[in-house]
């Protein structure tokens, strides 16, 4: 639904490029409020797209929703086989739990990104025929994968019980860690979805990037084993620190592992400042993603 105010707001923004900074900031904020209102108005569509996604995914398979449990468990078994039987020097206590509490969030991230990238282009028949806030497409992909992730967490907790790892009070931080990951994933997904509309190479490149990203993220190893100093051309690098700075997923995964696995002894408290830094980074990524997306989504209707 289009209202006069909304159009007026859009107009004011577009017509006032030469206003003083303060006034521009005011219109920018007004624009953000309008977009959020619009998103709220279409919340039913988000819900429907999420259920559509889940229904379609499971309707045509025999095992249905069980796949979101089996798939990560199979992956876990492969990793456990490789890193305990084939390469015994890895020596991590309760390795299946250690690896599964990183695989699940990674799968959530990876599936969301790959889905978001294609979301605008794949729904071109919608985008160039009806109006709705376009950010709903990547957001609903992330949320559908979130539901999947939450289902898969059941497998993780079953495994924790099976290995008799005592859970600590820190497990209650799980929703906060998940929230940070959702923020980061939506932000990153918005950037990638926009890029793919204009350069279709994005989705091909990102498949390779995601594979590399998997290895640069502490999934089957821990952040702690990374070298604190590494000499390259005479310059010393703190590898562990740089991995955390460059790769927000490393920090997020590390947080999951800290509160769920500890050092094989159930959960441990995460470093407060480390956690806050991860949150701030994710919020910045979301802000950048949203502004890029809003800036370019005006022309999606004619580009796809």
């Amino acid at each position: 639904m289009v209202t006069v105010e909304k159009n007026a707001a859009t107009l004011v923004i577009s017509a006032n490029k030469h206003l003083p900074l303060l006034a521009r900031l005011k219109y920018m904020l007004r624009g953000i409020v309008v977009r959020l209102e619009d998103l709220w108005h279409y919340r039913e569509l988000i819900r429907n797209l999420v259920t559509r996604d889940l229904k379609v995914r499971y309707r045509n398979s025999v095992l249905g929703v069980m796949w979101s449990l089996f798939n990560p468990l199979l992956m876990m078994m492969v990793f456990t086989l490789v890193f305990t039987v084939l390469t015994p020097h890895f020596d991590v206590p309760n390795f299946p739990v250690f690896v599964l509490c990183a695989i699940l969030p990674w799968n959530f991230f990876s599936a969301s990104v790959i889905g978001s990238i294609r979301s605008i282009v794949d729904n071109s028949s919608l985008v160039n025929k009806v109006y709705f806030p376009r950010e709903i497409l990547p957001i609903s992909i992330v949320l559908a994968n979130l539901v999947n992730f939450l289902v898969a967490l059941i497998a993780l907790f079953a495994l924790i019980l099976f290995f008799q790892i005592p859970l600590t009070i820190w497990v209650f931080l799980l929703p906060a860690v998940i929230a940070v990951q959702v923020i980061f994933t939506i932000g990153f997904g918005l950037i990638m979805a926009t890029a793919n509309v204009f350069y279709r190479d994005t989705q091909v490149i990102m498949e390779v990037v995601m594979m590399a990203w998997f290895f640069f993220t502490p999934i089957f190893y821990s952040l702690a084993i990374l070298p604190r100093s590494y000499e390259i051309w005479g310059v010393s690098f703190d590898v562990a620190r740089w991995v955390r700075i460059v790769n927000p997923m490393a920090s997020i995964i590390d947080n999951y592992r800290t509160i769920l696995y500890g050092i094989g002894q159930g959960g441990a408290p995460p470093d407060f400042y480390f956690f806050m830094r991860t949150l701030v980074t994710s919020l910045i990524v979301l802000l950048i993603g949203a502004s890029i997306f809003y800036r370019y989504s005006r022309s999606f209707g004619e580009e796809v």
């Binding site: 639904m1 289009v2 209202t3 006069v4 159009n7 007026a8 859009t10 107009l11 923004i13 577009s14 017509a15 490029k17 920018m28 624009g31 953000i32 977009r35 108005h41 279409y42 919340r43 039913e44 569509l45 819900r47 429907n48 797209l49 559509r52 229904k55 379609v56 309707r59 045509n60 028949s125 919608l126 985008v127 160039n128 025929k129 009806v130 109006y131 709705f132 204009f198 350069y199 279709r200 190479d201 502004s291 809003y294 800036r295 005006r298 022309s299 209707g301 004619e302």
Partner: protein, 274 residues
Amino acid sequence: MTRPVITFENVSKEFKLSKLRVRSLQEMFVSMFKKELRGKHRFWALKEVNFTINAGETVALVGTNGSGKSTVLKLISRIIDPTLGIITVSGRLSALLELGAGFHPDLSGRENIFLNGSILGLDRKEMTKKLDAIIDFADIGEFIDVPIRNYSSGMQMRLGFSVAVHVEPQIILVDEVLAVGDYNFQLKCLNKIREMQKQGVTILFVSHDFEEIQKLCDRAIWLNRGEVMAEGSTDDIIKAFMDIYQSKEGQDSFPQSGVIPIVEQNMVTSDVGI
């Protein structure tokens, strides 16, 4: 009662020609060396269009192919944004641009009704209330719980039309959808449109069927090459349109589908940045 619900003030829309648009890194690389691929291949699909449509009116948009009719409809429905100018639309809008846009083949008719309703901005409660009326009008019987992919194209269309007209729109955009479908369905649609006219719904109508336009519309706007050529009573406009068409038939000078590349343009492109 003349309350404007749709106004166009100096609206212009510029398109890039998609053939020449860079779509991949390879094309970007090539375009760095090939001059003719570089920029400025654009055309104005609409040029300073002005018109007002008041509440309760039924207005026809006429013009040859490529005159900008569909662009106008897309601008009103916010699928694309104007390059310049102000568009004001007030009221709930339902567009019959493409019936059943957003239907998912793997979901049943019933599920698709809810999905389609939410695309049009309605919540579940409102849709539940209208569900029976929608199913009734679409007249697809037991098929309502069968995945859409098993529907015939006619059934999909009936369902799409039914959803679009039952969301209680205040403005409805109709783009030649009545030309498809069998005779019974066309008749049913026309009756529904007449009913909506009586309820005071504003209707913007695009059709090449002048008989239909004369029966339904109070007023017509004639677009030619992205500009408003004339505006007035339906009979006058159609007469003027036919006069030109018949007098120039067979000649190439008649307004053709208007792709007019503008190499140097001095209009300032507006830019929204949040």
